[in-house]
Point group: C2
Chain length 128, copies 2
DNA sequence: CCTTGACTTTGAGCGCGCTCCAAGTTGTAG
DNA sequence: CTACAACTTGGAGCGCGCTCAAAGTCAAGG
């Protein structure tokens, strides 16, 4: 996380105005760091800034926002589950295509038939 | 995939100029569809347009680009593997936090101690 | 005292991937 | 014949998430 990003997150309300040293420089507490790490984790899994803002807001409100916050997390968790599914399908497809390319390359090396584009379609994904 | 996106992909060279009906409207062949499905699958797993362009270019060149194309796919596959890892970590973290929220909500319901922000840190991710 | 460098601020700029607008053409239904 | 819908084009616009530029302040080192 760059300094730019930290300031940006503060500007848009993802983190509360953070403590300062006597010279005005920002000093991040351990709590700040933990929170930033959580934010980072959510961003890394494609939670939109908007949703993180909503969560941060509720968190500031504190009392009585527990269920709303939980719902956000649950929603994001199912988002993540879907992402994993997509990624695993794509992973399988790529493995399939890579194997295909290798076959072709071997055929060339031993002087077999010409280089051909392997099937470019997504049967695996479609079929499964 | 919207019509806008299809035209965009054609503009930026992800697909070759596609066949037209007599009135000038685009007609996508089954091969086009298969290729588009593949592109869609790569985009859905966050392959940048740039890289898809490189792949499409090599594919047009045909002969002798097999290894280069395979490398692109292999690179993307490891990207995907990393994504999956991140997502699984986040999924675990969220499950942990959601359980925590539930605990808190129950304590409230039975008149236990006050609503408190559960630990917001990422120990799970950090620790594992 | 002066330079260097790390921070501060506000506000603008940018790269990505679409997404839409305006104006024009064509085919179909009433 | 007319109206409408569905496509065509080139080019502009947009939302997201940073990322950076310019100008200023302060602290330490030579």
């Amino acid at each position: 996380m760059t300094a730019h990003t930290l300031r940006y997150y503060e500007r848009v309300g993802l983190i509360q105005p953070v403590g300062r040293a006597r010279n005005g420089h920002r000093r991040y507490s351990e709590a700040d760091e933990a929170w930033l790490q959580f934010l980072h984790c959510m961003r890394a899994t494609h939670m939109p800034i908007r949703e993180m803002q909503r969560y941060a807001e509720l968190r500031e409100l504190g009392d009585g926002t527990s269920e709303a916050r939980r719902k956000i997390l649950e929603d994001h968790r199912s988002e993540i589950a879907e992402q994993i599914k997509r990624l695993e399908q794509a992973h399988a497809l790529l493995t399939h295509k890579i194997a295909n390319y290798k076959k072709i390359e071997n055929r060339i090396r031993i002087g077999g038939p010409k280089d051909m584009e392997p099937p470019v379609n997504c049967e695996i994904v479609v079929a499964s």
